[in-house]
């Protein structure tokens, strides 16, 4: 299969989002903000005013905290950028996407097709996964400037809302589409066909554990 590369704005049109296919490689231009549990709790549960115009400034929410430092003079030094696992944020994402108009949720590991169908597709949003989960230096190169860091005093550097200007930042992989399909579930299904053969010659543990499954189409998330 030929892998397709796409350059996308972080305030993309509905058509541009709908055109994305599972497994496309995406590079982003424009403003991206980081938001994870700290920002979600403060903005949604604490009802704090979000310090940006969303989605007009950015419709791209990165589940990330950068390897970065805020200097004493208030300037920023940002090195590598890598995503954190998104499934842990399912509690807040439906409200966040509806409230902020986010169309690109960027992170690690993706969500389930159930999540995509329930609140990604109706809001015109797709999921972009970082690559390998370790391409932090490449992504760091795509950061033109750090425009602002909001709430770092309240939330700390790792949980703060970093606003970064991206220039051809990537690579990212399209992990959901406007049909609500999930790239990882598609791959899981292909791999599952082989698992019985791999497990031949093994046997279940003598001592069982609560909540244990022997269905290998299951995942540990969700």
């Amino acid at each position: 299969m030929k892998i397709r590369e796409v350059t996308l704005s972080t305030t993309p049109t509905a058509e541009a989002v709908a055109d994305l296919r599972l497994g496309d490689i995406v590079y982003l231009d424009g403003l991206i903000y980081t938001a994870r549990e700290g920002v979600y709790m403060r903005a949604l549960e604490g009802q704090a005013n979000i310090p940006m115009e969303l989605p007009s400034q950015s419709a791209a929410n990165f589940h990330c905290s950068p390897a970065a430092v805020i200097r004493e003079d208030g300037s920023f030094d940002l090195g590598a950028v890598t995503a954190t696992a998104s499934f842990r944020f399912a509690k807040w994402l439906p409200e966040w996407i509806a409230k902020t108009g986010a169309r690109l949720i960027i992170g690690k590991g993706g969500m389930s097709s159930k999540d995509y169908k329930e609140y990604f597709v109706p809001n015109g949003a797709v999921y972009l996964s970082t690559v390998g989960y370790g391409t932090g230096a490449l992504l760091g190169r795509g950061v033109e400037t750090v425009e602002a860091v909001h709430w770092h005093e309240e939330l700390g550097i790792a949980q703060a809302m970093w606003v970064i200007r991206a220039r051809r930042m990537g690579p990212f992989i399209v992990a959901s589409n406007m049909q609500g399909e999930c790239l990882f579930e598609r791959e899981n299904a292909k791999i599952a066909e082989n698992l019985d053969r791999v497990y031949e010659g093994t046997k279940p543990a003598v001592l069982k554990r609560y909540g244990e499954t022997d269905d290998r189409s299951d995942e540990v998330i969700g």
């Binding site: 230096a137 550097i157 046997k203």
Partner: protein, 318 residues
């Protein structure tokens, strides 16, 4: 006497190297994986990783934005003496960890488990961990820093002798398949397996097997070495590659370490050392020489000794 200032500056350098420079043994292993990978998406991921290591070195920026949780393994020759003693040593390692966190920069990952307090310097209660080992000869100190990432990819299970090799294989595969999906384990990885000990030491053995042994190293017990080869191949036969995409590279290498355990049990732990296998090592001598390397060389014959007394001559003859 080993100068304390030299320990601190060397520790800072090690923090920098660990975060930025992929160890050569792992890089060679990943290049070999990239050559034989035929899954299209997995293959793309491996190529991107190789570019990423280059970018990190060129720009002197961390390989991965999640720079893991820095920790220290310290090994001392029996004749080593440290200026200021062990309290000074621990303070120097804590200072170096904090300094490097803002210097590289690293992500200040360490927070209080309940209050989420972040000192923004990767130092706190029990952090960084400092673990010790000793060798019968030498006046040097080895500083080893490991920045292992990972909320995923590690598991423990109490198995029993009746579980046998079939049970060990089952738990190994379960760990890889469960955490390999969506690439949560950040594979392909160096997989460490701990067998025996007690629950806590079993976890320690498995973690050290993944982070303190290099790709291509083999256990000194030939039967365990054969298991390592077999388990590497087994993991790579799952059909899963980088990020959980269809592929054939899950395990860059599999290292197994054992410890004597309760006669009724067979504890097992599995650990995945991720795509940014961050480790850096230096040996410091009292005369001020510093030798950098990436192989911790932790599991010496002395560390794996079985006898009451240490008798290297007899060990060698056996």
């Amino acid at each position: 006497m080993i100068p304390i200032d030299l320990i601190e500056t060397t520790a800072e350098t090690l923090m920098d190297k660990a975060a930025i420079e992929i160890p050569q043994d792992y890089l060679d292993g990943l290049k070999a994986a990239a050559r034989n990978e035929d899954g299209d998406l997995s293959s793309f991921v491996l190529k991107a990783m190789l570019e990423n290591y280059e970018a990190a070195k060129e720009d002197r920026r961390a390989m991965c934005g999640d720079t893991g949780v820095p920790r220290w393994f310290v090994k001392l020759g029996n004749e080593a003496r440290i200026e200021g003693g062990f309290v000074a040593l621990e303070a120097a390692l804590r200072r170096a960890t904090a300094t490097a966190t803002t210097g590289v920069p690293l992500r200040p990952n360490r927070v209080h488990p309940l209050w989420r307090t972040d000192h923004n310097n990767n130092v706190g209660i029990g952090a960084p961990e400092i673990e010790y080992g000793f060798e019968p000869e030498g006046d040097w100190i080895d500083l080893i820093t490991v920045h292992k990432g990972g909320l995923f990819g590690t598991d423990y299970r109490m198995l029993f002798p009746s579980d046998g090799i079939e049970g060990i294989k089952r738990f190994y595969l379960d760990s890889l398949v469960a955490f390999g999906k969506r690439g949560l384990a950040c594979q392909p990885a160096i997989i460490g397996i701990g067998l025996g000990g007690s629950k806590d030491t079993c976890m320690v053995l498995g973690k050290r097997a993944s982070v303190l042994r290099t790709v291509g190293s083999r256990n000194s017990d030939p039967k365990i070495a054969a298991m390592e080869d077999e388990f590497k191949e087994l993991g790579n036969s799952i059909g899963m590659g980088a990020m959980g995409f269809v592929g054939k590279n899950m395990v860059i290498d599999c290292n197994i370490e054992v410890g004597y355990c309760h006669t009724g049990g067979m504890q097992m732990s599995v650990h995945a050392f991720c795509l940014s296998s961050r480790r850096a090592v230096a040996r410091i001598f009292p005369d001020g020489r510093v030798e950098h390397r990436t192989d911790p060389d932790w599991f010496t014959p002395y560390q794996r000794r079985e006898t009451i007394e240490w008798d290297p001559v007899r060990e060698a003859a056996e």
